[in-house]
């Protein structure tokens, strides 16, 4: 049984349907990438999985249990954590308050101090800036904080929506290194990215989304060699 199973999902905004008959799965311990252009429906998919949007049809199972009717706060408590697009930090709160807020769910709250040390170990930059207001951090630091806040929830499955968005190449590399580290420590990762090359390089498998449908799926190495992906996404 896969850790996350999405089964024939359909999601609409009002009358406009955005996701069509979408199925995917993530096994425990895997890193899976979802790639696709602007407006393909990647963020919509993550919002539906984390409970921010109610699907119109289909089922989402986490650890075998259907979650599509649960509110976001219950889904987080199950260990399915979503680091949203654009970071969505609490800008007027300190770095430390942002991190501690991540541990609000009861399962994570019991280990708050211990997880905080782990996150500081992963991002020493954040430890130097605990009292700084989140909105005054640099873009790279903000992304570290967003991932750190997600980790504070002690995810079993971490969903990252475009963590490389708007960052310089050198910072992007360090963010992807962190994702690799998080995965190596045993967290399952579902990564949404437009940086196709980097994300497939660190993934086991990938799905390609176009116009709200899965058009291609397979092992990451295979996708990297696929002619359609090479022309449409890698520009080769």
């Amino acid at each position: 049984m896969a850790l996350l199973e999405v089964d024939r999902l359909e999601v609409s905004y009002g009358d406009v349907q955005v996701l069509f008959d979408l199925s995917l799965r993530v096994e425990e311990g895997e890193v899976v990438s979802i790639i696709g252009g602007n407006g393909a429906g990647k963020s919509t998919l993550l919002r539906a999985i984390s409970g921010l949007l109610r699907p119109r049809r289909g089922e989402i199972r986490f650890d075998g249990r259907p979650i599509q009717a649960l509110p976001p706060e219950r889904i987080v408590a199950e260990g399915l954590v979503h680091v949203p697009e654009g970071r969505r930090l609490f800008g007027l709160m300190s770095v430390e308050d942002n991190l501690r807020t991540g541990a609000y769910n009861p399962r994570a709250a019991a280990h708050e101090e211990e997880t905080l040390e782990r996150v500081f170990g992963l991002f020493p930059r954040l430890k130097e800036r605990t009292a700084q207001m989140a909105m005054t951090l640099s873009g790279g630091e903000q992304q570290m904080l967003a991932i750190g806040r997600g980790l504070m929830a002690r995810p079993r499955l971490l969903m990252l929506d475009e963590p490389s968005l708007g960052l310089a190449p050198i910072v992007i590399r360090s963010i992807f290194d962190t994702v690799r580290q998080v995965a190596a420590q045993g967290t399952t990762v579902l990564l949404v990215e437009q940086d196709v090359k980097h994300s497939l390089e660190l993934s086991h498998r990938g799905y390609v989304l176009e116009h709200g449908r899965v058009v291609l799926e397979g092992p990451a190495a295979e996708l990297l060699g696929n002619p359609h992906i090479r022309t449409a996404y890698l520009g080769i």
């Binding site: 509110p71 976001p72 987080v76 979503h82 609490f90 909105m135």
Partner: protein
């Protein structure tokens, strides 16, 4: 000159009680992003609660807090959970739902008329309480004792609310929800529960203001209306969602009201208050302490 100082001091004291009343409004707005038009009515409920608690037990007015605080918290919590929340859920996509404002206006009318039905139109006050009419002589000045108590209550309440928001886990969740509701729910926070708590807290603070007023102020079913407009002006003056701003804004209004009549008719002082309000809306809509960034 000494009278001017006396007026200014008493104005600051009275103004801090206005600020206390506005504090509840600003708290609720800060979290729910909705102007609660029933806030004056909540203050009215708090005043009646304090009035009856003092009258029936004969206790010191401020001892009534033991009853009024939990009662008002529960009242606000339930009002939000039962009456307002369903509207919020129906409009969960909207950030500042106008229908919720309409509902709070309805609550205002219902509460005021219930007050009239249950307690009758007469003005009530507690004649024999240890604070009523008491003055402290400071040199040639006379300072009102019940207002001084109100001033202290305002400072202590503001400090406690601040500590709750800054230093507790629940307070952090309240701040997070006020900044970004969806992001907060992704952290495992149930935003609707936070709304209930914020509404309960804001109502409890209105209860403190009720206790502060009852020793020297008349209670009647529409007393809230007198404070409603002041509270809105104070909250805009101080900055929506700002605790310190509410207190300072209250004191500014209090001083204008008490010192103004020395120089002009009372009608003109009101004109100044409204002028200040409009001026702020034009020149600095985020108020004295409001943050431009979000709220």
């Amino acid at each position: 000159m000494i009278y001017l100082l006396e007026d200014a001091i008493n104005g600051i004291l009275m103004g801090s009680i206005y600020g206390l009343a506005a504090l509840g409004l600003t708290l609720i707005f800060g979290v729910l992003k909705v102007i609660n038009f029933a806030h004056g009515s909540l203050l009215m409920v708090g005043m009646y609660a304090a009035y009856w608690a003092v009258l029936l037990t004969g206790a010191h007015p401020y001892l009534a807090l033991v009853i009024v605080l939990p009662l008002m918290f529960a009242f606000g919590y339930l009002l939000q959970a039962v009456v307002i929340q369903p509207i919020f859920k129906a409009e969960r996509e909207v950030r500042e739902p106008i229908t919720v404002i309409i509902v709070t206006t309805g609550v205002w009318y219902i509460l005021d008329n219930l007050g009239l039905l249950v307690f009758g139109p007469q003005y009530r006050n507690i004649q024999d309480n240890p604070l009523r009419g008491k003055m402290i002589e400071a040199g040639e000045m006379l300072i009102s004792v019940p207002k001084l108590w109100g001033f202290c209550a305002a400072l202590v309440t503001a400090a406690l609310v601040w500590l709750f928001l800054q230093k507790t886990r629940m307070g952090r969740a309240v701040r997070a929800t006020s900044l970004d509701r969806d992001a907060a729910s992704l952290q495992g926070i149930n935003p609707y529960r936070i709304y209930n708590i914020a509404f309960g807290l804001g109502t409890a603070v209105a209860g403190v203001a009720g206790v502060a007023l009852v020793p020297f102020y008349n209670v009647f079913p529409t007393v809230g209306v007198l404070f409603d407009i002041k509270c809105f002006i104070i909250v805009v003056l101080g900055g929506l969602g700002s605790i310190g701003g509410a207190l300072l804004g209250g004191m500014i209004i209090g001083v204008i009201e008490s010192v103004g009549p020395q120089f002009m008719t009372a009608t003109w002082t009101e004109a100044i208050v409204y002028g200040l309000f409009l001026g702020f809306l034009f020149l600095r809509p985020s108020g004295l302490f409001g943050v431009k960034y979000d709220w």
